[in-house]
């Protein structure tokens, strides 16, 4: 180990206890950054002298110095576990002093595990890293997209979903949000949480953007398909708050998908199949063919659901004819499956092959329902408090006031804050 590195390590060891010391150390390390890079070959041997939980800031700088100087391919295999251990044990207060460095190190870990083709090794460390870096669960960090990507690649959907369950509000970079929504949407699709997937993809599409993002285009394609699967329809109108670029361009990039949506609306399976055939190549190229198949199979269910609106009883054969299934046996299986999944309420009489459709037995009288409504109300109240608070904070924000003052528009109040709110008021 060279002298220079030794002295840096010494500094780190002595200056890692109090906040004031850490501040000094931070300044010191910033000054020595170049030196760290030039001495990169010696850095690896310095690491064992430091405790990642006590000397997190210094540890971070050394790891960063080492990884910037080396190409991802040259990094030794055990490096994954070194960074992993560091991310798991580091002190949140210390690493938050140098968030950019921390994010960079996480990104390199991601690159490394992707390179050695075991993304699963990065999932847990990055999850820990997110928790360390974010000030509250409401913050979207730059590590989120990388983490979700690893979850996707490693098929650890559940882990990803656990992180997605926190609603994020604080976001600093629009690219983070786009990727977060896109990967998150895909994880939710993998877990068949279609509602959540729709919300995430919707956020991507409607995110403010000056130039059309490829992520938004892909998200829009998936949004169309998931809408069809989950809601049984796709409404091609955009909300008012969507960015002008997205509004103008998205549709032209997703023509086959919109065509599919129009065909879906007719409820005719054969036509839908024809449409799928026609655009098969495109769907496969976009890696959406699996979803398209799900769209097709959801048509049957949708058609059965339509029948429940019209009929009280219907024979299995009639059902098979009307939803274009081959036999009454298939119809029976489909109806059975749907009853099991709670998608329709019905009874099958096997003796005479009749299905009796029932009304939704939910009477909204049970304790659980009251609790559910109550919790919804609580949630709404919290949200509206949050909304008022944000509004107040914003109307006191000097930057905002200067901007508004410049444009000479009157003070904004809650009503014209965002058009999405209009129909609730």
């Amino acid at each position: 180990m060279s002298d220079a590195v030794e002295s840096i390590v010494g500094h780190i060891q002595s200056l890692s206890s109090s906040p004031i010391q850490l501040d000094q150390l931070h300044r010191f390390l910033n000054r020595r950054e170049k030196q760290l890079r030039s001495e990169s070959t010696h850095l690896l041997s310095a690491l064992p002298q430091l405790d990642p939980s006590l000397h997190s800031l210094g540890y971070l700088y050394i790891v960063d110095g080492y990884t910037t100087a080396h190409d991802t391919k040259e990094l030794p295999d055990e490096f994954v576990s070194i960074i992993g251990r560091f991310l798991n044990t580091c002190s949140a207060n210390q690493i938050r002093l140098a968030p950019e460095k921390f994010v960079a190190v996480c990104r390199r870990l991601k690159d490394q595990v992707m390179l050695i083709q075991s993304p699963i090794r990065g999932v847990a460390p990055l999850r820990a890293a997110i928790r360390k870096l974010q000030a509250s669960p409401e913050h979207l960090t730059a590590i989120h997209p990388d983490f979700l990507l690893l979850c996707l690649s490693a098929k650890c959907y559940r882990t990803g979903l656990a992180v997605l369950e926190d609603d994020v509000y604080e976001v600093e970079n629009s690219k983070d949000l786009l990727l977060y929504g896109y990967y998150g949407g895909m994880i939710c699709i993998g877990q068949k949480c279609f509602r959540k997937a729709l919300d995430l993809l919707h956020n991507v599409i409607t995110a403010p953007m000056a130039n059309l993002s490829a992520v938004a285009v892909e998200a829009y394609k998936k949004y169309v398909l998931v809408s069809l699967i989950h809601l049984g329809q796709f409404i091609p109108d955009f909300p008012k708050y969507i960015s002008a670029t997205a509004e103008k361009n998205l549709k032209s990039y997703a023509q086959p998908y919109l065509e599919l949506a129009v065909t879906y609306d007719t409820g005719k399976v054969t036509e839908l199949e024809r449409c799928v055939q026609k655009h098969q190549e495109r769907f496969q190229k976009d890696n959406n063919f699996g979803l398209v198949r799900q769209v097709v199979s959801s048509t049957y269910k949708r058609n059965v659901q339509r029948l429940t609106q019209t009929y009280l009883t219907l024979s299995l054969q009639d059902i098979a004819d009307r939803v274009q299934l081959n036999s009454s046996k298939e119809a029976e299986m489909l109806v059975l499956q749907m009853i099991q999944d709670g998608e329709i309420f019905a009874t099958i009489n096997q003796k005479d092959g009749m299905v009796r459709f029932l009304e939704d037995p939910e009477q909204y009288r049970s304790c659980e329902m009251v609790e559910r409504i109550d919790s919804s109300m609580q949630r709404m109240m919290m949200l509206s408090k949050k909304l008022t608070a944000t509004n107040e904070a914003l109307s006191c924000d000097p930057a905002f006031l200067t901007k508004v003052g410049k444009e000479r528009s009157p003070m904004l109040d809650l009503d014209d804050y965002d058009p999405a709110l209009e129909h609730f008021m």
Binding site: D167, V168, Y169, E170, V171, E172, N173, S174, L177, D199, H202, N203, T206, A207, P208, Y241, R306, Q309, T310, Y311, L312, T313, L314, S315, D318, D352, M354, R356, F357, E359, D360, E362, Q363, Y364, M369, R372, I373, S376, M377, R379, M380, L383, S384, K386, L387, T390, L394, D397, A399, F400, K403, Y417, D418, A420, L421, F424
Partner: protein
Amino acid sequence: MEPESSSSSPTLISSNGDAPAPHRPISNPDLLDIDSYSSLYSGRTKITRLLFIADRCDVVSLQLEALRIAYDEVKKGENTQLFREVVAKIAGRLGDAHGPDPDWTEVVERKADARKDKLENELNAYRTNLIKESIRMGYNDFGDFYYAHGALGDAFKNYVRTRDYCTTSKHIIHMCLNAILVSIEMGQFTHVTSYVSKAEQSQEAVEPIVAAKLRCAAGLAHLEAKKYKLAARMFLETHPELGNNYSEVIAAQDVATYGGLCALASFDRAELKAKVIDNINFRNFLELVPEVRELIHDFYSSHYASCLDYLGSLKANLLLDIHLHDHVDTLYDQIRSKALIQYTHPFVSVDMRMMADAFKTSVAGLEKELEALITEDQIQARIDSHNKILYARHADQRNSTFQRVLQTGSEFDRDVKAMLLRANLIKHEFYSKQSKKLHNF
């Protein structure tokens, strides 16, 4: 309804996709008496209507009869173009008496040329003298001339040109009526609407006959635009003084038929009672076509079978009508749906076998029709396909309210969250722009 039954029995109207194609030749127009039909009309429309019948009808005797009357009628006028058309259609099937007659055409055309020269000279003279009234007359004569010779586009132009020289509102109305007449012949119904409104804007109160003419023209325009409800209103407001004063466009019988059918297809029960059955003016028209009167009364008193019978027997003739033929199927479908809806309305449960009897259709066919209506949310009911009973369905207000509340709640939840996210993103990007600016200084 089964497709077989619709073709085997003319008493049924078909209400689904397998309705006969509009251009199917009519094979059983025994009821149509060409002579009395053609006597209802005059002028150009008489000929075009007859030709229309000849085109649409595949009974040779009827075709020839229509063509013969058309031939005689054309010869009374000066339209050589139309004459040649008729002759070509006859193709010598009516003997020498109805042949191409080149002498006649030559004489007429020579006369026409001479008259055209004379009119031009006159008009030029008027124009140099700048006498407004004479110029108007000149253009008007030109319009009449072109109209008589079948040059409808030129006629329209000349009639419209008189507008700049109109001095009284009477002149304007005259101009509008001419323009409307030509536009109807040309099939330009947007012109019709605009000239009707122009005429109605004139300051002086128009005579009842003129008003009636305008109503009819507007009704036709709405009919052509498939706005049946508006068309029905126009025809219903037509004053009976119309009589046969507008025979160059429409007969009083047509007013009754068009108005009655459009009203049945588009009015609800109360409107039907107030505006059709209790309408004294319209009753005069209905007296002329007893079938339509009867079918409206049957519909109102829920004798659907007999109502549908009347409709079925009328259908063949209506398909030969120059204005109504395209709309017959749509109107019939709508009337049938109305009848089905009205039939089910008062009941909690309906035996579909009885209902099928009342509508002269099979149970399976009825089930399909009902299914379509339920899907479109026109009937609130559900079908017990096993026992063939239709049960009315009353939405549970309480449950649906709960459902809606929960749904609105989660929508609010989603929208507000997404909105806060967007707002924060904009805020941060704004800050970072600001700080960049600061750094630059």
